[in-house]
């Protein structure tokens, strides 16, 4: 047990260290507040509070001020998330080509036990010519049936599980 928790701690420490390097790089250039927050989310999967504090320190503002900025934007998460996020577009072009089917199919599957993914209804992803469209983490998926969309999401979950 002791070694296991020790490992977890060192993994965490490595994340903070890697983040600190990214923060320093960002700090050298203007206009990088959102990039720093993206870096936090890349390391921790969400805006982990201690890491947000590191960004606030780098910017010379309070954590409260930084949360005030971060909460304006829809892509940031404020609690831990499953490894796969499916962002399903529900705007007009996708709606006309079956977005609701995809949404309902994925939502039903996501509520099942240990599904390993979460579904978000999002506004236009700029993939309208591929409607109905979604993002599976960072990958664009379009022109799919609800069943195909679910397969893509589950494949992504499986890949994440294999990767550790």
């Amino acid at each position: 047990m002791a070694t296991q928790s020790g490992e977890v701690e060192s993994v965490e420490a490595a994340k903070y260290a890697a983040l600190q390097v990214e923060i320093e790089e960002c700090k050298a250039e203007p206009g990088t507040t959102l990039d720093m927050l993206h870096a936090v989310q890349r390391q921790f999967g969400y805006l982990e509070p201690r890491a947000v504090g590191m960004v606030a320190d780098a910017l010379g503002i309070t954590k409260a001020q930084l949360y005030g900025v971060a909460t304006f934007y829809t892509m940031f998460f404020f609690e831990p998330k499953p490894p796969v996020i499916a962002r399903v577009c529900v705007n007009l072009s996708c709606h006309l080509r079956g977005a609701q089917d995809i949404l309902h199919t994925l939502e039903a599957a996501a509520t099942a036990d240990r599904s390993g993914f979460e579904v978000e209804e999002v506004m236009c992803l700029g993939l309208c010519e591929q409607a109905p469209a979604l993002l599976v983490n960072e990958v664009a998926v379009g022109q799919v049936s609800a069943a195909e969309a679910l397969e893509r999401v589950q494949a992504s979950v499986a890949a994440c599980n294999e990767g550790g």
């Binding site: 940031f76 705007n91 993939l127 010519e129 993002l135």
Partner: protein, 451 residues
């Protein structure tokens, strides 16, 4: 057919600098830096008569004038790559498939207007485009097309790529500056205009990706050549994005001034599944929903405006005869409610009111005065909203009331959805629906008027 921005996208490794240069890339920059003064470049853009592709169609050369005359250093080029208007994806295709074209355009704009820094602000959801543009920037620096003394000239410019994080309003020209400065993306009051006091308080030129991507060809072949590519008095080419119920959805770079009929039926393959056209939109969510009998509309800024709506981003959305216009309008209404930044009352509350009124129509529980209320709330929002989002948000809704009145009457009076799409189940929405006009609500709250 002549192509400008989309000419290279089907080339192998089109996103790579070798491929770009093998197909004439960076030749315009070389020409500008070795043979032309900044005002020569400006002159060609003036001759092109290009209107900005970000939605407003504002003449690009005139916008550049403001910057050339502005005091303050340094000056910035801000490339607006926030592209979030539903139905619009031309910027994404340029960024993914021909990122060097965008970089070349940015450097030309900086040279012509005396800017020493370029920012590209790309929406957070464009992961692939971000990676491609980022890689292209590294290549451009390595080849000396960015940085100090570009191509041995005395012109130097630095380029920074920044990511948004999910907020349509950050495409608005002042909100994007607040966002880049690390603030919430609220719009700013104008004046001061960005050309005088923009990003970090300095003179800033803000242009759309597609506007900038046209610059290399304008410089190489001349503004007059580019202008003559248009038809029906249109200037140049324009990328029309077509989506919805067509056989071949996609981005079509065609002469500015192409009619909707030609675009939809000749290029996009017509309505899918051999169905009839029922309704269409000329320019993303912010534009009106129009009936099929307006198909001969010339898709250029002025003619569409004369018809009572906007060309906007030229994101054309097509709906077949199985569509219910109330069901379509509520998708746009939901978009604006979600994306309203909440800064001002008419838009924050108005977008919700419109969506709730449509919710009642869909469920067959809308009182008879609903169409009047939609008209009133829309007028209040158009007149009193602080920025373009709230001013244009009512269009998809109020236009369906005007253009498809009999369908609303069927829903409201006969309690029937003619297309058989709406639930019409008599269920009241579980949120409270305020049936006062926005004006009345505000008077009740604060004793004040809207505007």
């Amino acid at each position: 057919m002549e192509q400008v921005c989309l000419r290279r996208i089907h080339n192998e490794n089109s996103q790579d600098i070798e491929s770009f240069m093998a197909h004439g890339g960076y030749a315009a920059l070389r020409k500008a830096l070795t043979e032309m003064t900044p005002s020569d470049v400006h002159e060609e853009v003036r001759a092109s008569n290009m209107g900005g592709r970000g939605g407003a169609g504002f003449p690009t050369a005139m916008k550049w004038n403001f910057l050339v005359g502005a005091k303050g250093e340094p000056k910035y080029v801000l490339c607006n790559f926030d592209e979030s208007e539903p139905g619009t994806f031309s910027n994404r295709i340029i960024g993914e498939e021909d990122p060097h074209l965008l970089i070349e355009g940015c450097v030309l704009a900086a040279y012509a207007t005396g800017c020493s820094y370029i920012f590209i602000y790309i929406r957070g959801e464009y992961f692939l485009a971000y990676e491609r543009v980022k890689h292209a920037i590294e290549q451009a620096y390595a080849h000396g097309f960015l940085g100090q003394n570009i191509m041995g000239s005395d012109f130097s410019v630095e380029l920074y790529l920044r990511r948004g994080a999910g907020a349509y309003i950050c495409g608005e020209e002042t909100a994007i500056m607040n966002s880049l400065e690390g603030k919430r993306g609220y719009p700013r009051a104008r004046p001061p205009f960005p050309a005088n006091e923009g990003l970090f308080g300095k003179p800033t030129l803000i242009n759309n990706v597609e506007s900038l991507a046209n610059l290399p060809d304008i410089v190489l072949n001349g503004g007059e050549w580019w202008q003559n590519l248009g038809v029906n008095e249109g200037a140049g080419l324009n990328i029309y994005c077509v989506s919805g119920h067509v056989e071949r959805p996609g981005a079509y770079e065609l002469p500015m001034g192409t009619t909707a009929r030609e675009l939809i039926f000749e290029h996009a393959g017509g309505v899918w599944q051999d169905r009839e056209l029922k309704a269409w939109k000329p320019g993303g969510a912010s534009s009106a929903i129009l009936p099929a009998d307006m198909l001969d509309l010339v898709l250029d800024f002025k003619p569409v405006q004369a018809a009572g709506t906007i060309l906007g981003t030229a994101g054309v959305i097509v709906m077949d005869d199985h569509t219910c216009v109330v069901d379509a309008a509520i998708r746009d209404a939901t978009f604006f409610e979600e994306e309203s930044c909440g800064f001002c009352f008419p838009c924050r509350d108005g977008t919700r009111v419109l969506r709730m009124l449509l919710e009642q129509v869909r469920h067959g529980v809308a009182p008879p005065d609903t169409m009047d209320l939609i008209e009133h709330s829309s007028a209040d929002m158009m007149g009193a909203s602080f920025c373009g989002l709230g001013q244009f948000a009512p269009w998809p809704v109020v236009s369906t009331v005007r253009n498809f009145r009999s369908e609303y009457e069927a829903h409201i009076i006969e309690k029937k959805c003619p297309a058989g799409v709406c639930p019409m189940d008599g269920v009241e929405p579980n949120e409270h629906v305020d049936r006062r006009t926005l004006q009345e609500m505000l008077v009740a709250q604060k004793g004040g008027a809207l505007a």
